[in-house]
Subunit: 419 residues, 2 copies
């Protein structure tokens, strides 16, 4: 008998019929004797409707009201799933964030979980009652409803799994696992059986949308075994979870040492939602970069890659960096306003770029991945505009038109193509 957390996202609970399908997955596990805590998102589309209403209602100067409105979507799904479960003979009840309670800080709209009071929840689970928890929600120290930010239900699921020391946390979604790259772009992409937390973190922050970064971090810190799997698998056709069985129904996110297959590179990620900003002819002297990035930080803008060209004459240089393309207009406005203080000749912004990343924990012990990457891209005539690296990834910024070519080239180069 295992303790299991199962999480279902918005597309998996988009209609009452889909909720029935979710219930069949839960019933399979409950019938096998597993204790199940189920975390649900809002029905797809509901959260957008709620956000739309709040926006119409006026400028949101108080995120507490935003949270009160937007959290109601998960409240509905939790009650509906509990009702469906009971109607098919599975003992179940719904839990709102404040009922568990899932205690958070007061940063409404993107609260962080501070702790979970899991005694009552656990008592219910141990009595054989499925606990259906509204994801995304928490309660602040002053007793107001908080939300964890978009995709927060993944975080709810992992936090609950950590709090009740679950044997596994299954994230059911509309894809059947983590792939070596986006299968819509590269048909020969392979599904990974296992991936390390670190690799998954890089994948998530570099464009793979399957798991929310914070949930992966939390799983890594607390050692939660996380499995990404499809909610569209026929519920009765897949086996129930069994402790120590080791069967993987999708992709298991786990510690590095649990991975059997040790490839150098695990996946190729890409992101097209960045924009490139170039300041031409800024003074090549201390404090200029600080002035630029200090202003952007004040405007709450995250900067990703930064490249400063070597200057020809030692007096002027070009400064290039990337931001989310949704921030581009704001960035240009901020820098235009500060033109006199910063001092530059030209300001250029472009959204026509892509970031392609090679990811793998194997890089730690294998030199030459960067060199191989650059050589392969050069051979295809792809110009690299910026580079950023970490211990387990190499990201390059290229012209958006070459994104697919680059991803396919690197996918083949590092032996990731399916047979």
């Amino acid at each position: 008998m295992a303790l299991l957390v199962m999480k279902f996202g918005g597309t998996s609970v988009a209609t009452v019929d889909k909720i029935r399908n979710v219930a069949a997955h839960v019933k399979r596990e409950a019938d096998a004797g597993n204790r199940c805590a189920v975390v649900v998102s809002a029905m797809a589309g509901q959260t957008n409707q709620l956000v739309q209403w709040v926006k119409e209602a006026g400028s949101v100067d108080d995120e507490r009201e935003y949270d009160a409105v937007v959290s109601s979507g998960e409240q509905v799904t939790a009650g509906l799933l509990a009702t469906v479960l009971r109607s098919i003979g599975v003992k179940a009840r719904s839990w709102q964030g404040w009922q568990v309670p899932i205690r958070t800080d007061e940063v409404h709209g993107s609260a962080r979980i501070a702790g979970i009071g899991s005694d009552e929840l656990l008592a219910g689970l141990e009595s054989g009652e499925v606990g259906v928890i509204a994801g995304f929600q928490g309660i602040s120290p002053e007793g107001r409803i908080t939300t964890l930010g978009r995709g927060g239900s993944d975080t709810s699921a992992v936090a609950v799994a950590a709090a009740i020391k679950a044997d596994q946390c299954d994230i059911y979604t509309d894809v059947d696992g983590i792939y070596t790259t986006d299968p819509r772009m590269v048909p020969r992409a392979r599904r990974l059986d296992k991936i390390s937390y670190e690799e998954m973190l890089e994948m998530a922050s570099l464009g793979a949308k399957v798991l929310q970064t914070r949930s992966v971090q939390m799983a890594m810190v607390h050692g939660v075994r996380l499995q990404v799997r499809s909610s569209f698998d026929p519920p009765e056709a897949v086996p129930a979870f069994q402790l120590g069985d080791g069967t993987v129904a999708g992709t298991l996110v786990c510690h590095e040492d649990e991975k059997v297959e040790q490839r150098v590179v695990s996946g190729i990620a890409y992101a097209k939602d960045e924009a490139k900003v170039t300041l031409v002819n800024v003074a090549d002297k201390p404090g200029v970069a600080a002035g630029v990035f200090g202003r952007l930080a004040d405007a709450n803008i995250n900067v990703d890659m930064i490249v400063q060209n070597v200057s020809d004459d030692g007096r002027f240089t070009d400064l290039t960096f990337t931001v989310l393309d949704s921030d581009l207009e704001k960035v240009l406005a901020v820098l235009k306003d500060a033109k006199a203080e910063i001092g530059y000749k030209e300001l250029n912004g472009s959204t026509d770029i892509a970031k392609v990343s090679v990811i793998g924990v194997g890089m730690r012990s294998h030199a030459g991945v960067a060199a191989q990457t650059f050589a392969a891209l050069a051979e295809k005539g792809i110009n690299i505009e910026a580079i950023s690296t970490s211990e387990i990834k190499i990201s390059v910024l290229i012209d958006a038109a070459y994104a697919e070519l680059a991803v396919r080239t690197l996918h083949t180069l590092f032996g990731l193509d399916a047979n």
Copy 2:
């Protein structure tokens, strides 16, 4: 400076634009220095959608899940109204039922309010912050969300008014007050300036849909001054509430002695949602009626009027009673099943009836209202099939085809026609 409860129903908050109109009403009162607790229903249509989803989800064997789902509509409106208020410069916050808390019993789906913890709410109001309270919701002793049943937001409003000892409770709705009868049926119906709790109670339970019966009872018990008024009045064109001012913007429901104009009859109500059931030739002996109505009570069916004809020969009689027409099928099924035990010759059901009622506290001191009523109806050739009376009302059951004629006749007879 007064303490005011303002309640807005579903049609008054049906869209964000309508919520803006509601906010303007609240702003008028807040700007005049009044402390405002505002109770809101769900956006019109939302509750039906939520109920529909629950029904699709399966047989509701656990009303706690029904309540968790259905209460979310009010949560949304409370957050939206607070947001709109803040955006127009009125300090405001939302309160969920469990946050106030509005403590109820455990009868989910139609819970009764047991008490309100109003300290924190009052502190907010006294600091000049408008409290926007989600109507319809409560919290059970075990910490689950409860709902007060359809129209429960009226009850929420009155309960809050009683708990904080509000100077007045204004029920804003889609009509501008209580009329002597339904103006859609009788164009010469007059709006009443004041009506007593007792009369309002009879009106509400006899077919006038403006206020929920329970809310009127509660207002009567706690002496809450209740005003029914229109949310579609231009918010800036009406004066703000002023203590001791006495201006009535709609109809004031108050103690009898506060009414100035003391007519014998205050209004004529009618209901077409009843059905008549007749058992022909039942034994005229003790225990038969008990057997019939005991079975209906077991099936949770409310019986309204009951008439037992005098039998010709002392052995058999006809038993006639009315139920809600939505219950008719169930009633017929129950009685068919019990035909052998009860013993009757024929069972007839008809929905083609109407109940017309004459209401007025003045009847207490004026004899002859019943006689006048019967004579007037007889003169128009209207046959009375059953009669039921109380201290302040006379109800007659007639053929549905004559409902309008009967209402108009009695409206004129008792001097209620507008000039």
